[in-house]
Amino acid sequence: MLKLRSISKTFNPGTVNANLALDRLSLELAEGDFVTVIGGNGAGKSTMLNAIAGTFMVDSGSILLDGKDITRLPEYKRAEHLGRVFQDPMMGTAPTMQIDENLALAARRGQHRGLKWGISKAEREEYHKLLKDLGLGLEDRMSAKVGLLSGGQRQALTLLMATLKKPKLLLLDEHTAALDPKTAAKVLEISQKVVEKNGLTTMMITHNMRDAIAFGNRLIMMDEGHIVLDISGEEKKNLTVADLLARFSKASGREETDDKLLLS
């Protein structure tokens, strides 16, 4: 359903800071795949997700979503098919707007926005129910400004917004990295639930190897802008952290396994 065909991206080309962040990367996802993505800092994980989302245009290669070439489509148009949660809890919501207004914005993703009222009463009731399901008590604060919420509450809300209108593909970029362990676990649990309930095709970047193994049906590891490992099915189920480290050092061709780099 998603096809990345040999995409490349160089940041600051032609300068001393030129940086090949994606190097002829190819990847194909099947409908319903839940892929966890790991790799060291600067491996190109976020860049890959941003390339799919259209935050920037890739230098070469093509991106197909459900058979449609979206390589040149601007970010806001691709958004129709994508749900996104970012590492930075500030990034996914409009802080000066109310919780229900944020949800109403998300509910209209991919739709024409005209002069109809921005939020209806029926919608509010629906949001109340959905927020209640989150179990964070947000349903009683629907008219509070999102800027007042904690990081974890915001990430949970962003997750809800990303999936309110069912996306073809859900992109999670270390969306629990900025949260304390307990909140992170809670948000991960919510993510898992939402993905399962809607059967969403998902890509989740994480720095936690255990999570990468525990979640999803497929795991890919990146290094220097390529995919160096791609494990799925039974093989993934039986994976251990030690296996993963060993296979990484082999795949990346490095003598020494730089566990710190991987686990940081």
Binding site: A53, Y76, A79, R84, M91, Q111, R113, L115, K116, G118
Partner: protein
């Protein structure tokens, strides 16, 4: 003596403040709602005045002249918006470029004269300074209606789907794009709307004072900011609703003109007015920054003590 002359001058100051307040709402939309620093304003205010005066002199009805001024302001905003979003020029610079260009355009509109008069004796003007203290033809009812209708329309608009998407664009462009909002289009549209209002304010002003001047908008942006800031400082806690926030801007503009009047009556040199305005606005813009620095220092010290 001081008070009677002040009292006499007060209605004029209030009316002027309310008209400038419409301009200040335009500034509020760009600076606060869209989060874009738009300096087109100084030019588009004069454009509104110039278009209005020349059209009325040419025999058009004052109402239609206002409409045309509004449209002319929107075109000015469109130019700034396209320079910013299509040419990648920073918003501030885009506004300055348009503003500069408008100076020439405005002179062309005014047939190369820096000032064009519009006598209330010869044309059926909607509002005039001359009647500000008389019962007949008093400009206040119409000015109040304009202010209220504009606030009402904007309040409605920013509650619609499109309006909400513009607010989201102003507060977090990343989020807006991730939710499928065309942020560039929204910024252009917001600049058009804001400059339309600014030009409308210029048009009303030209009728009110019976002339248009190519320099009438000089420093308008600072006056607009002053109004926004005065409104926020005084009413931040009480006016939380969006419509009331816009009303606070109008009140801010009126207070600005009342203070101006008082200062004038006290015998201050009018040439120093802009200096004073700039100082006041600079101080108010700096206050939040200073506050945060003091806070940071304090928490830093506490941390040191704890350690």
């Amino acid at each position: 003596m001081f008070f009677t002359s002040l009292l006499n001058a007060l209605p004029g100051a209030i009316a002027q403040g309310a008209i400038w307040g419409i301009m200040a709402i335009g500034v509020y939309l760009t600076f606060r709602v869209l989060n874009v620093s738009d300096l087109t304003v100084d030019g588009s205010l004069a454009t509104g005045g110039a278009v209005c005066v020349m059209l009325i002199r040419g025999g058009l009805s004052p109402w239609l002249a206002l409409l045309c001024a509004f449209i002319a302001g929107m075109v000015a905003g469109l130019v700034t918006g396209l320079l910013h979003t299509r040419c990648g020029i920073p918003a501030i610079l885009s506004g300055i470029l348009t503003q500069l260009a408008l100076y020439s355009v405005n002179l062309r509109i005014m047939q190369s004269k820096a000032n064009q008069a519009l006598s209330v004796d010869r044309y059926p003007l909607l509002i005039s300074m001359r009647y500000v203290r008389s019962a007949e033809n008093n400009p206040f009812p119409l000015i109040i209606i304009f202010v209220l209708v504009i606030i009402g329309l904007l309040y409605w608009f920013f509650g619609t789907e499109l309006g909400c998407s513009m607010r989201a664009t102003g507060t977090n462009q990343n989020m807006a794009r991730a939710q499928g909002i065309n942020t560039n289009r929204n910024i252009v549209f917001g600049l058009m709307l804001a400059n339309g209002l600014v030009a409308l304010s210029g048009a009303l002003l030209s009728q009110f004072q019976g002339s248009a001047d190519v320099n009438m908008g000089r420093g308008a942006i600072v006056i607009g900011l002053a109004a926004v800031i005065i409104g926020e400082v005084l009413f931040e806690k009480v006016f939380v609703n969006f419509a009331l926030k816009m009303l606070a801007v109008i009140i801010g503009a009126i207070l600005y003109y009342i203070v101006l009047q008082i200062v004038l009556q006290l015998g201050l040199n009018t040439n120093d007015l802009k200096l004073m305005t700039a100082l006041i606005v600079a101080v108010f813009l700096a206050i939040p920054y200073w506050k945060s620095k003091v806070m940071a220092r304090r928490t830093g010290k506490e941390a040191e003590q704890d350690a």
